[in-house]
């Protein structure tokens, strides 16, 4: 018995050390994980801002000119910035109604068997790799747009937006569904008890009450769309100009980065890629901040 006590005592001092060690490992992990993003911002930002060390590349030019011709010393990236927002906006326009409708359907209308089918289906959408979406865009939507708009090559914001819309559909849908499903049942009951139909209840009570959550989903989808590179690169045509039509080639920030990746580190073109990355980063980060604001308003 005495011997047993001793081993217990020994073990206990050791496990206390283990406990403390693990604690520090966890703290270490947390610190490490949170340092990465600052590392990236610092690095990308620092390298990106070097673009302006070149007298050919002015701040105003970069942000407000659409003339991109590095070989002639023209570094106007406004076209790519506009393109990014344009494609993202179109994608949202296509995706949000379907996603929110799907969310309402899954949360409030679909019988449980239908829900059981749809949930894994929505998950599968997320699982499809973006290059596969790109391939589908290339094989289906590019020819389709070229047929729809004769004379246009079909590469452009049209197929890019369609593909992105499908890619972000599941994100917007599942976040919105969550928001609808977690609304207190009492709201619904109150509306029904006043003789409202289901559609009236959905439109006038449930959707307004779930708006902050749905907004969060939309913003998350927006972040995904604006950051997608490979799928878009395969269908957008990659011309460094503003688009003249849905099936006319243009470029966005991400595809421009892919395209100019072949430039040498330290040159102005290469630095400008980091600057474009910085813009993407800042947009993503502000989206995060917006989500937080929305969430805070929801709590209040």
């Amino acid at each position: 018995m005495a011997a047993g006590k001793e081993t217990v005592g020994g073990a206990s001092s050791m496990r206390r050390r283990t406990d403390r060690m693990m604690h520090w490992l966890f703290v270490g992990s947390a610190i490490f994980v949170s340092l990465i993003i600052f590392g990236i911002i610092l690095f990308v930002g620092n390298q990106g801002l070097k673009t302006f060390a070149d007298p050919d590349a002015g701040v105003a030019e970069f942000f407000f000119s659409t003339n991109w011709a590095p070989s002639e010393g023209e570094y106007g990236a406004a076209g790519f910035i506009i393109g990014s927002f344009l494609v993202t906006g179109l994608a949202l326009l296509l995706a949000v109604p379907i996603a929110v409708g799907g969310a309402v359907f899954m949360a409030k209308i679909a019988p449980s068997w239908m829900r059981e089918i749809m949930r894994p289906a929505v998950d599968l959408f997320v699982g499809i790799p973006s290059v596969v979406y790109g391939l589908i865009g290339l094989l289906i939507f590019v020819p389709w747009f070229s047929k729809m708009f004769p004379g246009e090559p079909g590469f452009g914001v049209g197929p890019a937006a369609v593909i992105l819309a499908i890619m972000i559909l599941p994100t917007v849908l599942s976040v919105s569904e969550d928001a609808l499903r977690t609304l207190p049942r009492s709201l619904e009951e109150a509306s029904y008890a006043l003789g409202a139909t289901r559609w009236q209840t959905i439109r006038k009570v449930l959707l307004p009450a779930a708006t902050p959550g749905i907004l969060t989903g939309v913003i998350l989808g927006m972040g995904r769309a604006i950051g997608e590179a490979m799928a878009v690169q395969m269908v957008i045509g990659n011309a460094p100009v503003l688009p003249k039509g849905l099936g006319e080639p243009t470029s966005v920030l991400t595809t421009q980065i892919v395209k100019e990746m072949a430039s040498i580190f330290g040159t102005t073109v290469n630095n400008s890629l980091f600057l474009m990355s910085l813009i993407l980063l800042l947009v993503s980060l502000s989206l995060i901040l917006i989500i937080r604001l929305v969430a805070r308003r929801r709590e209040a």
Binding site: A69, S146, G151, P153, F155, V241, I264
Partner: protein, 269 residues
Amino acid sequence: GQKEESKNNNGSTDTPKQEELSGKITASGSSALLPLVKHAAAQFQDKHSGVTIDVAAGGSGTGLKQVAEGAVDIGNSDVEAGKEYEGKGLVDHQVAIAPFVLVTNKDVTVEDITSEQAGKILTGEISNWKEVGGKDQKITIIGRAESSGSRKYIKSALLPKDKDFAKDAVVQDSTGALKTSVEQTSGSIGYMDAPYADDKIKLLKLDGVEYSPENIFSGKWKLYSVEHMYTKGEPNKVSKAFLDYIMSEEFQTKEVEGLKFIPINKLKK
């Protein structure tokens, strides 16, 4: 089994007694030169089982950048390394000559254009096939990215001085993708080296001359460019052996023409 194999590889590099070559070479860059390098790599690897050669495209610019930065051993390019590579220690190996052609989608009815018309089409000055004798059909230019050697070459060969390609052209990141796009897009025109041309697309005559090897040798067909393979500094043993093989009599005479390239010594530029 794999482990043993790699051990053997290591052993062979360590012990000079063994003659067998082994090691890994990575090459990237010009998609125009890609067919030749890939073919050579396949043959070379058959001869030397200890050697691995990875070849990727991405454009001449990518090849030059990556070899200069040490990301790959060999950088392939359609054009000579420019000023920005001065002082980076790149060593040039000229390996073949690549003929270039203008191609269109099969629905284009024009057969023949002049060099001047070609220049105007590619700069966007002419935007409809009817302006060069075809039907009323919009011209879609499918081109390559800034990093492409083909682009640089065609620009120097066909475009008026100080003019660049039309900016609203569709841009593809390699010759293969360009070919597929021309094949898919009605009214399109593009440029590439002859090895890629097949019967799914249409070759244009230039100034009345049809592309053929004979017309090149006779000097009638003017579009061709020297292909380079760059190493950073003098090549290491394996890379050197590989480059030597490409330059060898055997490869240059037996294989190069079959690939629709032209042996480097056959044309004196």
